[in-house]
Structure formats: C-alpha cells, structure tokens
Amino acid sequence: MARISRRSIAARMAAPTALVGAVAIFGLVAFSSGPAQADTTTTTTASTATTPAPVAVDPTTVATPPGDVTATTDTTSTTGPTPTPYGVGATAGSPGAQPGSVQAEPSAVTALPSAEATAKAAAPSNQGGIYYPALPAAYIAPGQALFAANCSSCHGAEANGKDGVAPNLQRLGAGTVDFWVSTGRMPLANTSAQAIRKPPRFNRTQTLQIAAWVQSLTPGEGTQIPLVKTSGADLEQGNTLFTLNCAACHTISGAGDALMEGAYAPSLHLATTTQIVEAIRSGPGNMPHFGVGNIPNSEARDITAYVTEVLQHPNNSGGVGLGGIGPVGEGFVGLLIGVGLLMLVCFWIGDRS
C-alpha cells in the first residue's frame, strides 16, 4: 500500500462530502417535485377552477401577436369552481410555458353553456358524457376576418386548401380546426416538419371564432367541438381502452415517442379534455380516425378522463418518474448514479496510486 502523505482532513473528506452533496441534491430534486406529480410541468387545477371573464373581441384586431395576448391575462377573474366551457383556461395556453411565466391565456366564452349547465339542461347533444354545444352565430363574421388575415394565405380564402401547400378544411368541422389552432400547431411554424405543439397564437374566443366560420361553410359536417364531463367517467375502462388503442404510439405513460418517416407521436401531458376528444375523432396527422362506431362517446370520455386524471397526474409514489420512458431512463440512473456513486465511495476508501 502506498503510504500517501498526510494531507489535511478537509482534502480527505472531499470525496465523501461530494458524495453526500450529490445524494442531498438528488433527494431535494425528488422531494421538490413531490410523489404525486413528479415529472409533469403542468398545473391545471388552479386555472380550471376559474371562470375567465369575457373579452370583447374587436373584429378589427384580427391577428393578435403572442406578445399582445398577455394584455388580456388580467381579465381572468376567479369566481368559483365552475367548470369552464371548452376547458378554457386549462392547459390550452400552457404548452412550453415555464412555471411562473405569464400565461398567454385568455379569455373566454361565457356565452357558451358549461358542461354542468348542459348536463342539467339535458341537451340533445349529450352523448355519453360528451356535449356538443352550438357555436354562437355571432362568431362567424369575426372568425372569417381572422381566417382571412392568418390562414387564407395557405388554406385559401374559402378554406378549400391549395394543392401541395395546405389541405382543404371544408367538411373537417369546427373540432378539427379547434384542435390544430388551440394546440398552437396552426399557424404552422415550419412547413417541412410535423407541426409541433406550441403556445397558441389565438386566444380562446378567437380560436372558436375561426372554428365557427370554417364550420359555417359546411354546417353539420366533420368533427364538432366537444365539452367533456369527466367526473362520472370510468377510469378502469379508460385505462384498458387507452392501453389497447393509444399506448402503441403514445406509450403507456403518454410520454410520446418517435414514429417512422420523421413523424412522432406527441406527449399527451399537456392535452386538454376537448383536444383529446377532437384528436380521437379527427385523427390529426398520422393518428388513426376513431369514429363513434369504433370508440363510442362514453368510451372516448373514459379515455379522456384517464389521460387527464391519471396520465397527466401519474401516481409516482416511488419517487421521480424519470420521464416515464421506462428502462432506458432507469438504466441511465442505475449505471450513472447508482454504480457511479458507489465507485466514488471506492475511490474514497481505496488508494489511488
């Protein structure tokens, strides 16, 4: 054994100190994210409990740049835990938003009935916990103006598309339009790759106005905008259906993964109930179309409830969720942190010469 000279105790304790520090940091990270919701960045509960005040939409202020939208933020008022129409104020505005940053989300549509109200009225559009309230006719005119200014350069003034540039939007329905616009995928940032989720360009009212106008071109056709009442949903059924129909692409944890031909299945951790049902029904991009004959409304609601209540708030009782990507993340942690830390201990205990 090499008889290394007696260095100061501080120097000798450097390795164990670093070790304890690493463990402490790891522990802090684990605790700060909490066992119930460790790796998702969304916090939807607060905002869903608010009923945003209506915002007067001036048809002349057509395109609202993202920066300007923040001006409407302060109009949001908390008037009690009433479910919000179309999940407005939920996560629609939060993709990519950092905790603490100003939510560019907005506004809304108290003119539309809430899911609760619709349920009480037993509207004929109630289908297995999913409601399809009609969009106000007053939205059509401002929607046309918004469309003309922001969408028509690619999709054409009549929304009938351009060959090789953009698809025909007629007959697709308000729900399809709402999905693409409310997830920020439209307007498109980069025409060559798959559209990515980003903070939406338009506030909720503007989005519904555009959707209302597109819908007015082909009344009754295509995917409608759903309101989902998840409170009575069957999570066990949703779990089974999600595994059978969705997990093959979106993964069992909803984290998403890369597909062929440069496509990818997006993460579901930011999706709202409305967007989920719109995606199931309209099949955006490479996603299959699931009609009511395939997944009835009650089942679509169960899946939606499972995604928003379980996958977006996973039970991570075991600690940090490690991204929900399974053994790949676990292998890295096991080898780098587990074996790595213990090798540092070896380095402390043993000689280095």
Binding site: R3, S317, G319
Partner: protein, 307 residues
C-alpha cells in the same frame, strides 16, 4: 508506538475520531427516524431518506475509522506456491493411473456396463424432467384445430364473426376511413394467436369495385375498403399496434419493423422477414363483418417446422 506502520493516517486522530463518531450517531438517528417514519406511516420517500441517512452515516463512520484511525501499514504477506511438490504430484497421478488403471484393465466389461447404465439413468431421469413440461407442438399444417398445441392454427374459420375484445360485434359502418380496430373471432376474445388488426382504407359501398390496395390476387380478401391482418409481428410476435394512418404503415413498437399497408403489409424496413398474414373478410346481409376463411399460413414469428 512510534512505528510509522502503526500511526493512524489522520493528522489529528482525536478530531477524526469525533468526526467518525458524529457520523455514526447521525446514522443511529437516521435509523431511529426510520422507525418513527414507519410508525407514522410516512411516505416511501421518508422511509428511504431515513434509512439512507442511517446506512450512509454508519457506513461513512466505519470507513473513516478503518481508513484514518487504524494502523495503516503497509503490511506484507508472503505468497505460497499453489502447486504441490513433484513427489506429491507423482503419488497422486500414480494413484489414479496406477491403482485405477489396474482395476480398469481387469474389469473392462464392468466399467463399460457401468458407463452405459449411468448414461441410461441420466436419460431416464431427463425424459420426465423435460417431456412432462408441456405438450408436443402439433405437426399438422392444417390451419384448423386447437391453438394451444399448434403453431399453425388459429380459431378463425369461414363465417367467424369479427368482434372487439369486449365481445361487441363489428358492423361494416363502425370504422371511419383511417380507422383501426383490434378484432377476434367471436368466442375467442383476447386470444393471442387470433388477434387481428382491422383497417379501413377507403369508404366503399357494397357495390363499389374492390379496393385494389392488397397484394395482387388478393383484392377480394378485403371488403368495402376494409382489410384485416394478423396483429402478430412476423419478427418476434409483438402486437403490431402502431398504425400510421397518413403514411399507411403498420409498425411494430418492439423492434420497429414497418409493414406497408398499401402493398399487402409486406415489410418495408426492420427485422421482420415476412408480410403480416392477411385474413379474408366479408360482410353478411345484416352488416356484420365475418371472416371469409382462415389465414393461409401460420401467424407470428418463424420456426423450424414452418414450410
């Protein structure tokens, strides 16, 4: 005690002793905290934290004691030869070749019988040990019969109703174009070899010409824009559940084999060697979808008996 071999490495042994003791006391506190955490039914994180502090504290103190306070040496130990002396080797070898050799030469027949007997005993014991484990795979290439003891059969036969895993019969207007559904023959919901993926590629009515997107000669195997393929990947048997509707590909999530839906599900890329077997389907007058026969080959991955 001024021998440098025996002096502790620590410059200030008293202080190091205190540090080690403190570390161990922290460890003890950690274990006590663990018992408390268990008592109050605290979360897994609290249990791990207290236990971790306990073990790390006790461990670090013990290591510090061993490394800094005990006589550090260096000490030396001589190695000894592993091998025996030549005489011992000779005696040992002689015992085997000499003593044994004489006996073997004298009783060659007995030795032979013993060897054969031992071999037969091994075989006799191995037969129940292996053969009792499970059924022999059926040789038959008949695609009908029990699926439990044959790799060639499925429960699909002409007229089998297509049902979902929940047993709901599948009607011809159930799927949108671009829709996908996992179906089974009625009565065998959830069965592994019977799983079939039903796709609707076009919105065709009963009187429209058959949809051409199948292998040549198999356009009649689909019906009204529907096609049905075995959901078992021909590579390693994972369910081919990933349908890219726009690029018309079925993908196996396990090893990324890609099957071209527009060309009879022939593999486009990846390790899968064969197309997914196609199930001929039809529609009865009530709109119920039915199998129009069984698969024309074994489903799933390859194996020796597969022709």
């Amino acid at each position: 005690m001024d021998d440098p071999h025996l002096q502790p490495l620590a410059k200030n042994p008293k202080r190091m002793e205190a540090i080690a003791a403190l570390s161990m006391v922290v460890g003890m506190a950690g274990f006590v905290a663990f018992i408390f955490a268990y008592w109050v039914n605290a979360s897994t994180q609290w249990e791990a934290l207290t236990l971790g502090i306990g073990m790390a504290g006790l461990g670090a103190g013990t290591i510090a004691w061993g490394k800094y306070l005990m006589p550090p040496g260096p000490f030396v130990e001589e190695r000894h030869d592993f091998h025996s002396t030549d005489d011992e080797r000779t005696a040992m070898n002689a015992a085997i070749t000499g003593r044994g050799g004489i006996e073997v030469k004298r009783r060659k027949m007995l030795l032979g019988i013993f060897a054969v007997g031992g071999g037969i005993m091994t075989l006799a014991l191995l037969i129940p040990g292996v053969r009792s484990l499970g059924p022999k795979p059926a040789k038959s290439e008949d695609t009908q019969g029990s699926t439990e003891d044959s790799l060639f059969t499925t429960n699909w036969k002409k007229g089998s109703k297509l049902v979902t895993v929940g047993g709901r019969p599948v009607k011809v207007d159930d799927l949108d174009v671009g829709g996908v559904l996992t179906v089974f023959p009625q009565g065998f919901e959830g069965s592994s070899p019977d799983q079939v993926i039903l796709l609707r590629l076009a919105d065709l009515g009963p009187n429209d010409p058959p949809y051409p997107l199948s292998s040549p000669g198999r356009t009649e195997w689909g019906v009204q824009g529907y096609v049905a393929y075995s959901k078992l990947c021909t590579h390693l048997g994972c369910p081919v559940g990933l349908y890219q509707q726009k690029t018309q590909q079925l993908v196996c999530p396990c090893h990324q084999s890609i099957f071209d839906v527009n060309a009879g599900c022939i593999p486009q890329f990846g390790p899968a060697p064969r197309p997914l077997p196609q199930l001929p389907i039809t529609v009865d007058p009530t709109g119920q979808m039915r199998a129009n026969g069984s698969f024309d080959q074994a489903v799933g991955p390859g194996f020796w008996e597969r022709p």
